[in-house]
C-alpha cells in the first residue's frame, strides 16, 4: 500500500495518489529481470542445501553416496537443479556486471575502468571453476 509521508497529505485530501499494484514487476521486462535476479536467492539457498546433502552422503560411505547419485537422477531433482543452475548463473552474471558500480578503484590519480573490474571478476570465475572441476574430476 503506497502512502506518501504524512506531513503533507492530510491537508490535501484532493490530491490523486495512484496505488502501486502488487504485481508492478510484471509491468516491464527490466522490472521482471530485477525480481528474477532477487528470486535467484532461493536457488542459491537450495544449492547450499544440495551441497550439504552431498557432503553428508559422501561422509557416510559408498552406499549412501551411490544412493545420493541415484536420487540426483530423479526428474524432479534434475529439473530443480537445472533451473537452479540457470538462476545461479544469472545471479553470477548480474553480480559481476554490477560490481564496478560499488567498487571504484583508484590507481594513482586515475580510476580503473569499470570494464576492467568486471573482466577481472569473470577471470576469477573461470579460474575458480577450473580449480573446483580439477579437484573433483581431474588429478
Amino acid at each position: 500500500m503506497a502512502h506518501i509521508a504524512e506531513h503533507y497529505t492530510e491537508y490535501h485530501p484532493r490530491w490523486l495518489r495512484p496505488h502501486i499494484s502488487t504485481y508492478w514487476w510484471l509491468r516491464k521486462w527490466s522490472y521482471f529481470a530485477f525480481i528474477l535476479r532477487e528470486i535467484s536467492s532461493l536457488f542459491v539457498a537450495w544449492s547450499v542445501v544440495y551441497l550439504l546433502l552431498l557432503v553428508y552422503a559422501a561422509g557416510q560411505g559408498a552406499a549412501e553416496y551411490e544412493a545420493f547419485l541415484e536420487w540426483s537422477r530423479q526428474p524432479w531433482v534434475m529439473a530443480l537443479n537445472v533451473s537452479s543452475l540457470a538462476l545461479v548463473a544469472f545471479h553470477a552474471v548480474t553480480w559481476f556486471n554490477l560490481a564496478p558500480q560499488a567498487l571504484v578503484v583508484h590507481v594513482g590519480h586515475k580510476h580503473v575502468p569499470g570494464s576492467l573490474i568486471a573482466a577481472s571478476n569473470y577471470v576469477a570465475w573461470v579460474v575458480v571453476s577450473a580449480i573446483v572441476a580439477w579437484l573433483l574430476i581431474g588429478g
Binding site: 503506497a2 506518501i4 490523486l16 495518489r17 508492478w24 527490466s30 567498487l103
Partner: protein
C-alpha cells in the same frame, strides 16, 4: 498536409474528477517537435485549461518531467516522431501525488534534499583573507558526474522502491550527498552518513538500477548508492574495531 499525431493526455481536475481520465488531442508532428511542443500546442490552440510545468525547453531546468508511454522522460527532449504513428500517452510522473493534470507535488523530495546537506560543510571556515578553497581538475572529476543532477525527479518516478516506501530517501538525494562527500573541499561526510545509514537511507535500495537508466544527465544514482553502501559498511566495521577518533 501536415503530419499529425494523437496525444492521450492524463487529466485530473480535483473539482470534477476523483480519478484521472484521458483527453485525446490531434497535434502536428513535424520532425523537430518534442512532446512539450505538442502540449504547448494543446494549451495555445485546443484547450487552455491543461496544466503542466515547463520552463527552459533545453534539459536544464528539470521541470518538464512526465511519463511518456509508460517511461519517465523530459518532455523537452522526447521527440514526437519517435512515437509515430502514435498515439502518445502523456501522464504525470509516477510515485508522486498529483495536484492537477500533469502536475505533481515534489514537497517530499525537497524535505529529503535538505536532510542530506547538499552544500559544502566545513569543520571550521577559513577566513576570507586566506583565499579560495583550491581544487585540482582531478579532484573535480571525482564528483563532477554527480553534480550534473537537475532535480527532474525522473529517477524517483522510475524507482519502484520509492513508490513502495515513500520514506526511502531516494536516488537523486543520495547522489547529491555523494557529490559533496567526494568533493575534496567538503568535511561533512560523517554528518551525511548519519542520515544515509538509516534504514530509509541507502539500505532501502535493492539496486533495481532504473534510476540510472532514466537519468537524462548520466548522473548514475544507482552507482552512487552502491558506492555509498560499501563505504558505509566499511565505516561501520572501522568504528566497531577502532571506536572513536582512531
Amino acid at each position: 498536409m501536415q503530419k499529425q499525431i494523437k496525444l492521450q493526455v492524463a487529466r485530473y481536475r480535483p473539482e470534477q474528477e476523483s480519478e484521472s481520465v484521458f483527453d485525446e488531442f490531434e497535434v502536428p508532428c513535424p520532425n523537430d517537435w518534442v512532446v512539450l511542443d505538442g502540449l504547448n500546442h494543446i494549451k495555445d490552440q485546443l484547450d487552455g485549461t491543461l496544466s503542466y510545468r515547463w520552463s527552459c525547453r533545453m534539459g536544464i531546468c528539470g521541470s518538464c518531467g512526465m511519463t511518456v508511454n509508460g517511461e519517465p522522460k523530459l518532455t523537452c527532449a522526447t521527440f514526437l516522431t519517435d512515437y509515430a504513428p502514435g498515439p502518445v500517452r502523456v501522464e504525470p510522473l509516477r510515485n508522486f501525488p498529483v495536484i492537477r493534470d500533469l502536475i505533481v507535488d515534489l514537497g517530499d523530495f525537497m524535505q529529503k534534499l535538505v536532510r542530506v546537506k547538499p552544500w559544502i560543510v566545513r569543520a571550521a571556515e577559513k577566513p576570507l583573507s586566506s583565499g579560495e578553497y583550491l581544487q585540482t581538475p582531478e579532484e573535480m572529476d571525482e564528483y563532477k558526474q554527480f553534480s550534473m543532477c537537475i532535480n527532474c525527479m525522473l529517477c524517483y518516478s522510475a524507482c519502484p522502491i520509492y513508490g513502495l516506501d515513500p520514506k526511502f530517501i531516494g536516488p537523486a538525494a543520495i547522489a547529491l550527498a555523494q557529490r559533496y562527500n567526494l568533493d575534496s573541499r567538503d568535511e561533512g561526510a560523517a554528518e551525511r552518513l548519519e542520515v544515509l545509514s538509516d534504514h530509509e537511507g541507502i539500505w532501502g535500495c535493492t539496486f533495481v538500477g532504473e534510476c540510472t537508466k532514466v537519468c537524462p544527465k548520466n548522473v548514475n544514482p544507482a552507482g552512487a548508492i552502491q558506492r555509498y553502501k560499501l563505504n558505509a559498511a566499511l565505516e561501520s566495521v572501522k568504528s566497531f574495531f577502532l571506536p572513536r577518533g582512531a
